[in-house]
Symmetry: D2
Subunit: 353 residues, 4 copies
Amino acid sequence: MSCVTSAATQARAAGGPRAIVAGATGFTGALAAHLLWRHPDFELVAVTGRSELCRPLQEVYPRYRVPLAIEQLEPDRLEGIDAAVVAYPHAAAAPTVAMLRERGIRVVDLSADFRLRSLATYEHWYGAHPRPELLGEAVYGLTELHRAQIADAGIVANPGCYPTASLLALAPLARAGLIADVVIDAKQGISGAGRVFDESTHLSMAGENIVPYKVAAHRHTPEIEEQLALLAPAQGKDPADLRVQFQAHLVPLDQGEMASCYVTTTRPVQAEELREMYADAYAAEPFVEVVADPPGVLEVRETNYCRVFAAADEHTGKVIAFGAIDNLWKGTSSQALQNLNLMFGYPETRGLL
Amino acid sequence: MSCVTSAATQARAAGGPRAIVAGATGFTGALAAHLLWRHPDFELVAVTGRSELCRPLQEVYPRYRVPLAIEQLEPDRLEGIDAAVVAYPHAAAAPTVAMLRERGIRVVDLSADFRLRSLATYEHWYGAHPRPELLGEAVYGLTELHRAQIADAGIVANPGCYPTASLLALAPLARAGLIADVVIDAKQGISGAGRVFDESTHLSMAGENIVPYKVAAHRHTPEIEEQLALLAPAQGKDPADLRVQFQAHLVPLDQGEMASCYVTTTRPVQAEELREMYADAYAAEPFVEVVADPPGVLEVRETNYCRVFAAADEHTGKVIAFGAIDNLWKGTSSQALQNLNLMFGYPETRGLL
Amino acid sequence: MSCVTSAATQARAAGGPRAIVAGATGFTGALAAHLLWRHPDFELVAVTGRSELCRPLQEVYPRYRVPLAIEQLEPDRLEGIDAAVVAYPHAAAAPTVAMLRERGIRVVDLSADFRLRSLATYEHWYGAHPRPELLGEAVYGLTELHRAQIADAGIVANPGCYPTASLLALAPLARAGLIADVVIDAKQGISGAGRVFDESTHLSMAGENIVPYKVAAHRHTPEIEEQLALLAPAQGKDPADLRVQFQAHLVPLDQGEMASCYVTTTRPVQAEELREMYADAYAAEPFVEVVADPPGVLEVRETNYCRVFAAADEHTGKVIAFGAIDNLWKGTSSQALQNLNLMFGYPETRGLL
Amino acid sequence: MSCVTSAATQARAAGGPRAIVAGATGFTGALAAHLLWRHPDFELVAVTGRSELCRPLQEVYPRYRVPLAIEQLEPDRLEGIDAAVVAYPHAAAAPTVAMLRERGIRVVDLSADFRLRSLATYEHWYGAHPRPELLGEAVYGLTELHRAQIADAGIVANPGCYPTASLLALAPLARAGLIADVVIDAKQGISGAGRVFDESTHLSMAGENIVPYKVAAHRHTPEIEEQLALLAPAQGKDPADLRVQFQAHLVPLDQGEMASCYVTTTRPVQAEELREMYADAYAAEPFVEVVADPPGVLEVRETNYCRVFAAADEHTGKVIAFGAIDNLWKGTSSQALQNLNLMFGYPETRGLL
């Protein structure tokens, strides 16, 4: 970390926990940096990356007015750092998380490396795990499901955006043991593809298009299955019992994600029971809004809110549940902040309203 | 029909079947008029509507260069007309279709009024039928499924766009008796909402949004169920046996529609069997393209093509099938032309390539 | 004002200036309400409108989480109100502004009613003025140009979005007496058309389109001309001396506006002189960013920033200056807050960073 | 040219002029191939490129159903070829054009290499010219301006899309000697950036944005200046006399381009004179539509039409003229076909309506 930082920048220093974002040049790392920079308590002291070195982050992401220059991550200059958000690709994240943990830094990891409890499941979908010994230390960072453990965690494995929307839509049904089978059809804006420059993101090809991707092969499936199994009344049940059919699509907007979940229930569910179940489940949640009409993703854009709506279909007997989020916010980076708030003793909504 | 038509316009007269479009001010009627106008054989002689009277259609729809002026439909001035496309709302269409039939005019009706064979099913979803006596005369106009009957029909009930995409994606599985259960998650551009001016179509609200609509209540369901039952090996089976879970969403583009179908099969299906099944089903179809990768709707924009892709998911055992169309073209108006070609003895692709 | 307001809502009351938004159902009024609601000092006590009565504003505008119910504006229930934002159409605003002033309420008016100093100019473009006697009391609310008078004003006439972007782009040249002739070509997102439901805002017609509107007839012209004349070194000069060529276009995005200004200068201007002129002009401005590359409107989306860039064209001798804003924010509602901050003694950036 | 071409493909052979597209992997080359493939007379026999070798063009561009495989251009296998469209970058095109000419092939070149008559002007903007000896043989391919020479030309230098829209909007004024000064503000969809994958085309950055580019440095300027000088009554005048202020912007759509031209006239022009001037200028043109209201680019999308609208501004005395085209069609590839039709004796509209 050796780029010169201006006096104006340093003036912002505050006295709260000192944080860095590792991998700030991607969409989610940059947003995490933005949210930390404007947070009233955390002090963002460095943003690191492998490209765009020494450029102020706000040059690369003009909307995120973060004046810090992008630096290389140097392990021997991390003294005094309390918190880190790691926004690396899968498999690349684990070694850096391990290095940060060795220095006592509490980490929110945005990758998939620590999301699964089962090493076997990880290896089935991703190959060998770079740091399996740390799996036990990690807590799954869907705040609404694991609040207590997150508060004390050294590693928080931030969920994927698809699992976030899907699990918040399904959790009340899962807890009630009502999910016999589920199809999740998810739609996401192009920001979900990240800072990737190819046919999938070129406006002339991605605009005015709807494209399914990773058919019958989406890595978010095991994460959803594992968490649904944990929620089920008979915990400890083999997650393999419920195979989730998950399918993602890219649609032509920037930020926004809708998980449409079609549940075959274990017994008939009436509209009134469903309404109460969802109202009760989220009554105390500051960031989950159970709404009376099907939500649009624009309603939660650039917020940490998830809007949830469920309906019983009398014609088919199925339950349909929708979860709407901003994939970059609640789906990733603002949920990371929500978790950091918990980890460092701040109100969960701090800097996020 | 009394607006003055210019000599230049009349000069186009050709000698082929003389056609009108009733209800040409809506999106689908206007497109049908455009396609008839540029068709090498049909002679479009009038476009009618209840608004925009005496304005050239090309003023209302500049992209569709149809110079004919919009007139009121006058039953006593229909002599010499051979064909009509009726683009009226549901229930409003039937009386006009009946009036046209009385004059011997062959009709492609874009409404739902004649799509269902079962009067009981119609009444369950739509209320009393205005002309039930004509139900027997009507043929369901999904060209690929009912080609032979369409050729001789007096009334062709053009399918809805959602059933078109869904049924083409599912037909090979239905014919093989493989569908035990199916969830259809459909996404459509804003043109699907029609020439309607409200929150659902305002760019500031519909752009950058994804919105499910008509949750657990979509009227396209019975049409899909009835046709899947007809395709099943044991024809005559009660369509009620298969309840289709159908859900529509609006996504921020103009034209395009994707039906993502998740099928629980009656027996395990392997990838190779699936590939052959779809290849065989559509080998001779000029407008159905079985593709090797998940299709995007942009690939079929402003064409009469439907792209179909199916995959077996080893993890869940389900089959996923996609149907991608342009909702205004193959989903509605160009399929109407495809049917008119058949009805009047022209090659099916005439004027559509 | 008689809709019941929940205890939760009332709990937000704070002790700062008590404000209302009159006309909160339109895009700009709703955003002003949102910004006041989340402001740390102002207390938003009522939102009024003529439609959507008794609905919480957050139902009509889900993104703006303002729980207050929309009420009718009742003049005899305004006791204790300190500030008002009036978001009415032109001509409808003036009588309400007058009524509020009689009660001692300080007003930011978003309409054009009080923007022009010259009654004759107003009458030329808009017809008879409803309250000409108040013209003298009003201050033009482009904060960066009239900061001192705004602080003490009873009526602040908030500028139009086009004049805001144009004047901030041109002010340094105007002050230096360099503008001999100017063409302003402005492009704006569809939110600029407001909560209007017709062809101009339907996604199928406005999306994928670029449309010039109000050709040779745009009412923002006199406002720009009057302010440029005020800025010129020889103040008091007849504004008619400089006729501004202004042209607006709608382009397919939601929020964002670019004013591209082509200036024939009174004498040759070199790049270096230009750079210094702009740097000096805005060095102390918290919300004007002079940038080194042509700005995109996305860089200022949902902020109160204006980005300005100017270049000398050696080939033609002209100066090109760009002003990029969010038309709903700096172009209207957040600038209203910036002015309210000044009027009530708060730091100008309060609640806007 | 050695990729195997299927029998089905060869079956299309027709007997008309045999054509190739060199550089078919870019947006404009691919569209030219599509238009030639579906043309009733030309026979497209090969598409060449430097990447995507041996892939059917319709795999790379699914919307353009051209089954020919992409091949390398091999000079010794060009026997029997009559026509070529060259879609190479500037400077790269000239040597290939020369090679094709040596073999007697008539060429429409989409690059800038042969657009300027003045070698000095070319060298000022582009550097050394690779084949200056061919400049005299080339005809500027704005069909409406140089129809007669195009019919006999060996090389047609297809205009840039910006000059096409600008010149068609300005030609009537130029011919009347009315242009004393002109500012052209152009807006274009993202397809104008081509098959380029970077920040300027990523939907998350280009969507919801408006960005000026190449400020005070646009290479289309000299082309416009030279053609305006040619049109002026006193031909032979030094083109340097009129310096055109041209500025381009990217706006968030796929295809479409608007040139807004602000003309200071040499004498006052009234509305009626202007109307007649434009009506007369384009009365016989099949592809130029003088319209009564400001046109939107959606009205000409995927057509060879240019819509033109002009108005006199009484307030400023200036004339405003708009030219709306599809940048890929009339702006480039369909105009190439229009020219090929002329060159080979077909009606100009052949295959383009």
